[in-house]
C-alpha cells in the first residue's frame, strides 16, 4: 500500500511538470526553434532524401547573435528552401519566404486572357469562383481558379445544367494554387455514381522522420439525389501551377472513368500544411500530413497527364490566339 501511495505521489508530482521545450528569443534560439519544429513535424524528409542534420550544420554556421532580423530571416529562408516545398513558408512582418522553383523552372502553359478573349470573346459566365461557357464545338468549358473559392451546390447545379446539351466537358484547373479540400469533394461528387476511394491520408505519429500512421483510406459519396450529375467525357487541364488541393483534385479525377488529364505535370504539394511559430513571432508553415492518391502513391512531386496527353502551350500559337492545351482537349473530346 505504501508503495502504491509513493508511486501515486511521484506520478502526481511528475504529472504536474510536463515540460515544454523553450528557446531564447535571439538569432540562435529562433534558428534552433525553426530547425526543431521542422525536424519534429515535417513529413517529407525521407521521401525527398533531405539530411536535415547536415542542413543544420551548414546553416547554423551562418548564425551569429549580432545579425539583424533581415539577415536571420534570409538564413532561415535559405534553410527552408532546402526542402523544395511550396507549402513551406516563413512569415515575418517584413517578408514571407517562398520556394518558387517548383513552378518557376517550368513553362507557365496558361494565359487566362487568351481563353477569355479568343475562345469566348469575353462572353462567359461566372459563378462560385467558376468562369464557364460553351465552346463552338459544343463542349462545355469551366475554369476554376482557386479551391479557396467555395463552390455552392446550387452553383454547380447551374453550371452543369447549362452544359446539359454539350458532348463533353473541359475542367481547367491551370494556375489553381489550391485551397480547401472540402471544395475538392464538392466538385468530385458530381462525377461519381457510387462511393469511391479518393485516396489515403497519413500523419506523423511521433517526432522521428519515419514515424507515420497507417495510410487511412477516405472515400467520397456521389452528390445528393436531385443534384445535377455529369457522366459524359471530361478532360481536366493542368499546368505546373496546379498545386495543393488542385493537385489533389487532379489525382482523384485522373482515376475516374471517362476522365482524361491533359497539359503538363501538376506542381504537387500533397502535404497538408501545419502552422507553428518562433519565439520572435515569425510564423512557419510546413507540410505535415501526406495525402496519397487512390493507388497509394505520393503526388508530392505532381500528377502526370494521362498517357499521350502531355501537351505544352506553343508560344508562337499564342500570338495567334491559340491555347494549344485547350485545343488538344477540344480535339480529344471531339474525336471521342
Amino acid at each position: 500500500m505504501k508503495k502504491i501511495l509513493l508511486i501515486s505521489l511521484l506520478s502526481l508530482l511528475s504529472g504536474a511538470c510536463h515540460e515544454i521545450e523553450e528557446w531564447d528569443n535571439d538569432p540562435k534560439g529562433n534558428f534552433d526553434a525553426l530547425w526543431t519544429i521542422l525536424d519534429e513535424h515535417y513529413c517529407f524528409f525521407e521521401e525527398k532524401g533531405v539530411d536535415w542534420n547536415e542542413v543544420y550544420n551548414r546553416y547554423v554556421a551562418k548564425i551569429s547573435n549580432g545579425m539583424t532580423s533581415e539577415e536571420l530571416f534570409l538564413v532561415c529562408a535559405g534553410m527552408l528552401d532546402e526542402l523544395k516545398d511550396g507549402h513551406v513558408n516563413l512569415s515575418s512582418s517584413f517578408n514571407t519566404s517562398y520556394y518558387r522553383k517548383w513552378w518557376s523552372d517550368y513553362p507557365q502553359n496558361y494565359n487566362e486572357r487568351i481563353v477569355q478573349e479568343y475562345y469566348f470573346n469575353f462572353n462567359y459566365r461566372s459563378t462560385g469562383g467558376i468562369d464557364f461557357g460553351i465552346l463552338p464545338e459544343n463542349i462545355g468549358y469551366m475554369h476554376y481558379g482557386s479551391f479557396s473559392d467555395d463552390i455552392g451546390e446550387g452553383n454547380l447545379d447551374n453550371v452543369l445544367a447549362y452544359f446539359s446539351t454539350c458532348n463533353g466537358l473541359i475542367i481547367d484547373v491551370r494556375d489553381n494554387g489550391g485551397g480547401d479540400l472540402t471544395n475538392v469533394e464538392t466538385l468530385v461528387r458530381r462525377f461519381i455514381t457510387e462511393r469511391s476511394l479518393a485516396g489515403y491520408i497519413s500523419h506523423k505519429t511521433g517526432k522521428g522522420h519515419g514515424e507515420f500512421s497507417e495510410p487511412y483510406a477516405y472515400y467520397y459519396e456521389p452528390a445528393d439525389e436531385g443534384r445535377v450529375m455529369w457522366g459524359k467525357p471530361v478532360v481536366v487541364l493542368t499546368n505546373r501551377s496546379t498545386y495543393s488541393a488542385a493537385n489533389n483534385f487532379v489525382a482523384i479525377m485522373k482515376l475516374l472513368p471517362r476522365v482524361t488529364v491533359a497539359g503538363a505535370t501538376t506542381g504537387g504539394g500533397s502535404g497538408m500544411p501545419f502552422s507553428s511559430e518562433l519565439p520572435c513571432g515569425w510564423t512557419v508553415r510546413f507540410s505535415a500530413c501526406s495525402i496519397l492518391d487512390a493507388m497509394g502513391n505520393s503526388t508530392e512531386n505532381g500528377v502526370d497527364p494521362t498517357e499521350g496527353c502531355a501537351v505544352d502551350m506553343d508560344i508562337e500559337a499564342t500570338l495567334d490566339g491559340h491555347d494549344t492545351i485547350l485545343d488538344f482537349a477540344i480535339g480529344y473530346l471531339t474525336r471521342s
Binding site: 504529472g15 504536474a16 511521433g206 517526432k207 497538408m272 502552422s275 511559430e277 500530413c289
Partner: protein
C-alpha cells in the same frame, strides 16, 4: 489506479446502501436540507500552452461564470453532502512577441458527494469523490490547417474541503478551502501530427485516452469566504486551476488564477400541501 477508482465508488455506494438498509419503527421527522446556491463571476490571469498549436507559451486574462450548488444528502444528511458545479470560461492570451492570439472557450460540469466530519470551533472537514465533464477548445487565429485544439475529458476526482464558520466582529463568515484532483478518466487528444480534417474524414481511432496522473494532471484549489450579511451572502475568493496533459508527444498546459466574486445563499423548497414540520431540524450543507 483502478483500485483507487474502485475504492471511491465503493465508499459512495456503501454510504447509500448502509443508510437505505436501516429501518426505523418510529416515523422519522425528516430534517430540512436547504440548498446552498452560489453564483460567481471570476477573472484573473491565464497561461495557455498547447504544442499541437504552437511551441510557445501564451499569457493573458481569463473570465468565468460559475454556479455551485450544495445540499445535504437525503440519507444521513449530517454526514453526507452533494455538490454540483457548472461553469463557462473564456481566456484570451498572447504569444511572447504579442503578435498572435490564442483563445480558450470551455465549459465544465461536475457532481460529487463528500462525507463530512464536524470538528470543534465551527470547523468541518469533508472528503469524497466527484465526476466531471470538461469540454473546450483552444483557438489560435494565426494557424491555417491547425487553428484549433479540442479539449474533452470525463474524469473521476477526489475532492474535499475544510470549512470554518466564525464571526468577524459581528459578521458571520464561512471560510472554505476546497481542492479537487482528478484520479482517472478518459480524455480526447488527436495523434501527434493528425489534422482534424483526417478525423472529419472518418478516422476516429486512437482519440480517447485513459487518464492518469502521468498524462493528465489537474488540480483546482478553491478558497472562498462567504460573508453572511443577511439572507444572502457575499462570496469573495480565489480559484486556481492547473491542467497539464501530455499524450502523443502533445503537451497542453492551462493555468488560471482567478479572483472570485459572487453571491450565495440557502433556500428551501416547500410543498404547499405538506408544509414544514416545525419539529424538523435544518441541516446546512456548508454554513
Amino acid at each position: 489506479m483502478k483500485r483507487l477508482f474502485g475504492l471511491i465508488l465503493v465508499a459512495l455506494a456503501a454510504a447509500v446502501v448502509t443508510r437505505a438498509g436501516t429501518c426505523d419503527s418510529v416515523p422519522e421527522i425528516k430534517p430540512l436540507r436547504p440548498v446552498m446556491s452560489a453564483y460567481m463571476v471570476e477573472g484573473g490571469g491565464s497561461h495557455l500552452a498547447d504544442t499541437y498549436l504552437t511551441p510557445l507559451k501564451y499569457d493573458g486574462w481569463g473570465v468565468a461564470l460559475r454556479y455551485e450548488r450544495m445540499q445535504a444528502m437525503k440519507f444521513n444528511p449530517d454526514r453526507w453532502v452533494m455538490r454540483l458545479t457548472a461553469g463557462i470560461e473564456a481566456d484570451h492570451t498572447e504569444n511572447p512577441a504579442r503578435n498572435a492570439t490564442m483563445w480558450y472557450w470551455g465549459l465544465d460540469l461536475s457532481w460529487g458527494m463528500m462525507h463530512r466530519w464536524p470538528l470543534p470551533h465551527g470547523l468541518t472537514v469533508a472528503g469524497g469523490g466527484s465526476t466531471s465533464l470538461d469540454l473546450g477548445c483552444l483557438y489560435n487565429s494565426r494557424n491555417g490547417n491547425n487553428p484549433a485544439s479540442a479539449k474533452a475529458a470525463w474524469t473521476v476526482n477526489v475532492t474535499g474541503y475544510v470549512s470554518w464558520n466564525l464571526n468577524l466582529w459581528r459578521l458571520p463568515v464561512t471560510l472554505r478551502y476546497q481542492p479537487t484532483i482528478p484520479v482517472t478518466g478518459v480524455f480526447f487528444a488527436p495523434d501527434y501530427g493528425e489534422l482534424y480534417y483526417e478525423i472529419y474524414l472518418g478516422n476516429h481511432s486512437g482519440l480517447a485516452h485513459a487518464a492518469w496522473w502521468g498524462n493528465y494532471f489537474m488540480m483546482e484549489n478553491l478558497l472562498t469566504a462567504d460573508l453572511h450579511f443577511g439572507n444572502t451572502s457575499l462570496r469573495v475568493g480565489y480559484r486556481g486551476r492547473i491542467l497539464s496533459t501530455q499524450v502523443n508527444d502533445i503537451t497542453t498546459r492551462m493555468i488560471t488564477n482567478n479572483f472570485v466574486l459572487g453571491v450565495s445563499g440557502e433556500w428551501i423548497s416547500v410543498s404547499p400541501r405538506k408544509g414544514i414540520d416545525p419539529r424538523a431540524g435544518i441541516v446546512s450543507a456548508l454554513y
